[in-house]
């Protein structure tokens, strides 16, 4: 068997049915092996960044490892943004790149680049394969490392001569990496300590992050929250980990979080944080973040604990496993639901006052479509059953605020890196992984232009993705910052040329629609949802709409600009 055939065989053994890639000279042997293996469906993208994002969207929406394939040199470097995006959000993807033949490595050969060197800081781990007999084991390890512990991207760089070399295919049944042993089981003493803190709490808040989603812990989150009557707030990555429409949900916290979530966190006395890493967009000014709270922090990655905030009860372990254990303790102590209802009654009264004082809201305007309204309607019409991908910027924050995510893995969004151009290729991956589901990409007119070439990919695969462009003719989020903090010096936030997105859709053979009036929103959304085709809906929104509430960067989360 050749190395290239080994790669394809290993993919099959890992249960990989779809991969996203773009061929080239240094990966051509693997493409040849794929040609003879129709079981692995290859999606030809139009740019390798699209392949990495699509693999990422596949992984986020299905919980399985996404796979991208690229050639050496420029092919490999084009995946870098996608890899960094997956790294920041702990998404399991495996990226396979071709490399120049072993003998030419280091000689500045044609299309050579040191991709393992380039991606070292943005991968969980990476490999350069030097012997064909190592190839099956390395691919097995790559998948294993990507999906276990704190998940993340792994890159395998495979020289052309290794792809061509022959060897025996020995696929290991199990992986033993002596230097890599993630801690899944939490320390039980710590779990008990956590419970004791909760028992003493007067004003607790339950904060959930992306770790809840990647470990599949949302059932446990819900069980604990309902039993103990805890208010629940979510990071962007945690949205969907607890139902957004639940009456105990406070929505998202942080820079564009709700007033009541930020007030609750600022005033809580115990913060139970699970699978969240206290990003600066969440904490604002760290000294003023939950200043009077004892913090319990559950995370599988010990590095996340104590990195940004001081923690009183650190718990290293799998989020699901840790919450299961906590639930056991709660049940064992056996205080009934009624007890906890009574116990936190005052706290909830306070939260309700905050909720009533500044609910999430916007001003309606008969002349303009409000983006918030579009998302509210979209939630209503899809009943929260759709997979929503977003680009980055205002479109992303409005989505996080106004679409109340019901289920885990229904929000696909670049949280940590904030990658413009992520949403659409990610929606391709999400749709490939969820064929019958409604997949919608919420975009801005800026972001969509960053990977618009992938329209061809989506058309190739006949994917009925709905792209909703919230078009304000601005790079809206930067404009908003310039408006608020740079005395309206609108530097480089208005494109002189904005393409006709309806015509672009048509040029690719998709459906293009445009709406400009509020009364068109509902009927048009209904229409596109029912269409079994790729649709671009260009929604012309009020150009100066902002995302509020907003916490200025570096300020305390209680110092919100409200509307």
């Amino acid at each position: 068997m050749t190395g290239a055939q080994m790669v394809v065989e290993a993919l099959k053994r890992e249960g990989v049915e779809v991969i996203f890639g773009y061929p080239g000279g240094a990966i051509i042997d693997i493409y040849d092996a794929l040609y003879k293996s129709p079981e692995v469906h290859h999606v030809l993208v139009r740019h390798e960044q699209g392949a990495a994002h699509a693999a990422d969207g596949f992984a986020r929406s299905t919980g399985r490892v996404g796979v991208a394939l690229a050639t050496s040199g420029p092919g490999a470097t084009n995946t870098v943004t996608g890899i960094a995006t997956a790294y920041m959000d702990s998404i399991p993807i495996v990226v396979l790149t071709g490399q120049v033949p072993t003998k030419l490595i280091g000689n500045d050969a044609f299309q050579e680049v040191d991709i393992t060197g380039i991606t070292r800081p943005i991968t969980k781990h990476n490999f350069l394969v030097k012997r064909v007999e190592d190839l099956p084991r390395i691919i097995k390890e790559a998948f294993y490392i990507a999906r276990t512990g704190r998940p993340g991207p792994v890159l395998v760089d495979i020289p052309k001569d290794i792809q061509q070399a022959k060897g025996d295919f020995n696929y290991p049944d199990e992986i033993h990496l002596r230097s890599y042993n993630p801690t899944y089981e939490p320390h039980f003493k710590q779990i008990e300590k956590a419970y004791q803190l909760l028992e003493k709490a007067e004003r607790p808040v339950f904060l959930i992050g992306g770790g809840v989603i990647s470990s599949g812990a949302s059932e446990e989150v819900r069980a604990i929250a309902e039993r103990l009557n805890l208010p629940v707030t979510m990071t962007l990555m945690g949205l969907g980990g607890f139902p957004g429409e639940h009456d105990q949900s406070l929505g998202m916290l942080g820079m564009h979080g709700t007033y009541f979530a930020n007030m609750a966190v600022a005033n809580c006395d115990v913060l139970l944080a699970v699978g969240a890493r206290f990003d600066d967009r969440v904490t604002g000014k760290v000294d003023a973040f939950a200043p009077n709270a004892k913090i319990i922090h559950i995370d599988i990655d010990p590095t996340s604990i104590q990195k940004n905030v001081k923690v009183d009860v650190p718990i290293v372990g799998d989020c699901k496993r840790s919450l299961e254990r906590l639930l056991e303790v709660i049940k064992e102590v056996g205080k009934p639901k009624k007890y906890w209802k009574e116990r936190y009654k005052e706290w909830w009264e306070q939260i309700d006052i905050w909720r009533k004082r500044y609910p999430l809201t916007y001003k309606e305007d008969p002349n303009y479509i409000k983006p918030q309204f579009v998302l509210e309607k979209l939630y209503e019409l899809t009943k929260g059953e759709a997979i929503i991908c977003t680009e980055v910027g205002q479109n992303q924050m409005w989505t996080a605020q106004y679409y109340k995510f019901k289920y885990p893995r229904t929000l696909i969004s670049s949280g940590g890196l904030g990658t413009m151009g992520f949403g659409f290729p990610a929606s391709i991956g999400a749709q490939m992984g969820n064929p019958g589901k409604l997949v919608i990409d919420i975009a801005g007119d800026g972001s969509i232009q960053m990977n618009i070439q992938e329209l061809a990919t989506a058309m190739d695969q006949r994917l009925p993705i709905k792209i909703i462009i919230l078009n304000n003719g601005f790079l809206g989020m930067v404009r908003q910052w310039q408006e608020l903090f740079y005395e309206r010096r609108y530097s480089a936030v208005k494109f002189a040329t904005i393409p006709d997105f309806v015509k672009i859709a048509e040029a690719y053979g998709a459906v293009g629609l445009r709406i400009t009036k509020p009364q068109e929103v509902e009927p048009t959304l209904k229409k596109i949802i029912s269409m079994d085709k790729l649709v671009i809906l260009d929604v012309i929104i009020s150009p100066e709409e902002g995302v509020f509430p907003m916490v200025p960067a570096g300020k305390a989360t209680t110092e919100m600009i409200l509307v």
């Binding site: 393992t116 060197g117 070292r120 800081p121 969980k124 781990h125 990476n126 350069l128 490392i145 990496l177 002596r178 230097s179 890599y180 990655d301 010990p302 590095t303 104590q306 990195k307």
Partner: protein
């Protein structure tokens, strides 16, 4: 928080790229490496690395955790925290050795038990082994005579065993 010096003893898989990963972790996260020594261990699949760095407790905790997070890193021990340890560094010092200085150099070598490992008509190369203080003391004494070149290895360290059974 007060800064402290920290000597880490790190066992790492003897694979290409492992050292680059460690060095990259330091540069990428803005930590500083004061000294670094690497060599194979008794087990040729593992390398031992002595790394000297500094920072407050928070930074050092981060450094240790981040190191442990690397897939190739087998074990990290903060030898400065774990109590008693021995540390050694070696230096080769090329010193001017014209006739009038030779006696003086000889005396210094004898006091500090140093070895002269190369002799030329105008220079000696002296081997110094010891802790940092000894090395610095030798260098200070030889400096007025005229040091032409110094190469230092950086620190290696090992925990002392408990003296009571």
């Amino acid at each position: 928080m007060a800064e402290r010096k920290c000597t880490l003893s790190v066992l790492v898989e003897n694979t290409p790229g492992a050292l680059a990963r460690i060095a990259g972790l330091f540069s990428g996260r803005g930590f500083n490496i004061d000294s670094l020594c690497v060599a194979e261990t008794l087990d040729p699949t593992l390398s031992h690395l002595t790394l000297v760095t500094h920072g407050d407790d928070f930074i050092i905790e981060q450094i240790i955790k981040q190191l442990r997070r690397l897939i190739d890193v087998y074990k990290v021990v903060d030898v400065t925290e774990e109590g008693d340890f021995v540390e050694r560094e070696m230096a080769l010092i090329k010193v001017r050795a014209e006739k009038e200085y030779r006696d003086e150099i000889y005396r210094i070598c004898e006091i500090f038990r140093l070895k002269i490992v190369d002799v030329s008509p105008r220079t000696y190369v002296i081997e110094v082994t010891g802790d940092k203080n000894k090395l610095n003391a030798v260098i200070d004494l030889l400096r007025p005579i005229g040091i032409k070149e110094i190469v230092r290895t950086g620190l290696i360290a090992m925990k002392r065993e408990k003296k009571t059974p």
